[in-house]
């Protein structure tokens, strides 16, 4: 028998999905958001995103000593997500340091993809906020000018701090804000793609957005509930950040608890804290609780509770 047969343990079929394809799907999902950001905030938004992605990928390639620049794509995703949380045009070095921190300290120090406790992009953002708050959270917002690729832009406060935007503007994204958070429309389009591809579960965004809406409703009525969902980073956070696979619970119940927790912390910071936005810290805090949540919500095994009619 000259033919060599491969022997391996079953199953002998593998799903076509792999990590790289998931990461590419996330990038595809972020594409409408990125497009909207460039449309609203001009070429500077594009530069910010490119710096963040390239530096993130370079950092990962250097740390892993890999020739393959794109790798499994996770560094590109982290870089782009980081850019999405930043104002349209921070100094280039702020973006670059954020990317380095996100990959080196947020991810690789823990042992690389899969082992990190906190969402790397948010770690990068958190370090930037604490270190150079003036470039990230002060009066750095640009007034969006559709097609305003070269126009000079005006700085003004973000709508969450000022409570002055209409719901329609918030939905389309024609308000000042971080690159990826202004346009609810683009975020929802991207998220639909991820849902369709089965990479995110309704539970985390559902819990997150639901709680934000309910607490917003309690604090100021129906339109305030909607306002809290659409303004600021809730949609970006709920759909793209909190759903980060590595740092969120794996159990179904755990996902709901996680989402609700993110929503509660976010709203507590928004309503009672002095910072206008709480999404970053809400998600980071719940990231830290993820292993605990997982262990407290081990699912019931099939058939574990005996049915009364059996």
């Amino acid at each position: 028998m000259e033919r060599k047969l491969v022997v391996s343990s079953s199953p002998h079929l593998k799903s076509p999905d792999d990590i790289q394809s998931i990461m590419v799907d996330v990038l595809v999902a972020l594409f409408p958001v990125a497009l909207m950001a460039v449309f609203l905030f001009g070429y500077r938004a594009l530069i910010t995103m490119i710096i963040a992605m390239v530096v993130a990928m370079a950092t990962e390639a250097i740390i892993l000593r890999k020739g393959n620049f794109f790798g499994d794509g996770s560094a590109a995703v982290t870089g782009l997500l980081l850019a999405m949380t930043l104002p349209p045009a921070p100094p280039w070095w702020v973006v670059a340091i954020g990317s380095v921190v996100a990959i080196a300290i947020g991810k690789q120090i823990y042992g690389g993809l899969g082992n990190n406790i906190f969402n790397p992009a948010l770690v990068g953002r958190a370090v930037l906020v604490v270190s150079w708050g003036g470039h990230i959270a002060g009066n750095v917002w640009l007034k969006p000018v559709p097609f305003g690729f070269t126009a000079d832009m005006v700085t003004q406060a973000s709508p969450l701090a000022a409570y002055n935007a209409s719901l329609g503007d918030l939905f389309l994204g024609t308000v000042p804000g971080s690159l990826g958070e202004t346009s609810a429309l683009a975020l929802i389009i991207g998220a639909i793609w991820l849902f369709y591809r089965g990479h995110i579960d309704w539970r985390i965004p559902g819990g997150f957005i639901g709680v934000v809406f309910i607490l917003g409703l309690i604090s100021g009525g129906f339109s305030m509930g909607l306002y809290h969902i659409l303004a600021g980073g809730v949609l970006l956070g709920a759909l793209f950040m909190a759903t980060d696979m590595v740092t969120s619970p794996v159990t179904a119940t755990g996902k709901i608890i996680f989402g609700v927790g993110c929503g509660v912390v976010t709203m507590v910071i928004r309503l009672f804290g002095s910072l206008p936005e709480g999404v970053t810290f809400g998600i980071l805090l719940m990231n830290g609780l993820t292993p605990l949540i997982d262990n407290l919500t081990l699912p019931k095994k099939f058939g574990e509770v005996k049915k009364s009619n059996a």
Binding site: I97, I109, V127, S131, G133
Partner: protein, 200 residues
């Protein structure tokens, strides 16, 4: 029996209290904001360590072992208080910056640890060398941490601006999380280097 030179150098490298033994983490994290703070804290601890090791080694045959811990604490506390008063009198700025962490040297694991693990069993000369080594190792480590945090967190070294006016300091390094991050990275780096050099 190791030579006195080895006794001295072990505190700096192989048994560095911060990077190898992970002792005295509390002042390390709290006062290493600037190079001068780290250096000052290190020297203060060095002095206390020297004094306590010397006295304890000298008295090691006279102190009954059942009351040795209270006796050590008394001795250590005395030296700490002396350091506190002297610093307050002659270097008030440093005293203010180090604050509560000077009195807290009393409970610093390094001091009591060396007393209990070394000075109790060794001659005065060896104990003094040991204290010098450990103290220098501690000072060195704290100063290095202080330099890193000051350089990036404030843009200066020992209070001298070196990064130019365009530099915007990285605020997080001046805060407690920054201390943890810096220490963690340094620990990793030192372990990595030791592995590279084939020590242990």
């Amino acid at each position: 029996m190791s030579t006195l030179a080895q006794e001295f150098s072990k505190g700096i490298f192989k048994e560095n209290p911060i990077f190898r033994l992970l002792l005295g983490m509390c002042p390390t994290l709290a006062v290493s904001i600037t190079a001068i703070n780290g250096f000052g804290m290190g020297v203060a601890a060095l002095f206390v360590l020297l004094g306590s090791n010397l006295v304890i080694a000298a008295l090691r045959n006279f102190i009954p072992s059942k009351v040795r811990i209270p006796a050590y604490i008394l001795i250590i506390a005395t030296f700490v208080t002396i350091v506190d008063m002297v610093l307050n009198a002659f270097t008030p700025d440093l005293h203010k910056a180090l604050g509560i962490f000077i009195p807290l040297i009393v409970v610093n694991c390094i001091i009591l640890g060396r007393a209990e693990a070394f000075a109790r069993k060794n001659s005065v000369a060896r104990s003094v060398i040991d204290a010098l080594g450990m103290g220098v190792g501690f000072t060195l480590s704290l100063t290095i941490l202080g330099i890193i945090r000051e350089l990036f967190g404030k843009g200066s070294i020992f209070g001298v601006g070196v990064m130019g006016s365009a530099f915007e300091p990285m605020g997080i390094l001046a805060t407690a999380p920054g201390a943890f991050i810096t220490l963690g990275i340094m620990l990793g780096f030192v372990n990595f280097m030791f592995k590279r050099l084939g020590i242990e």
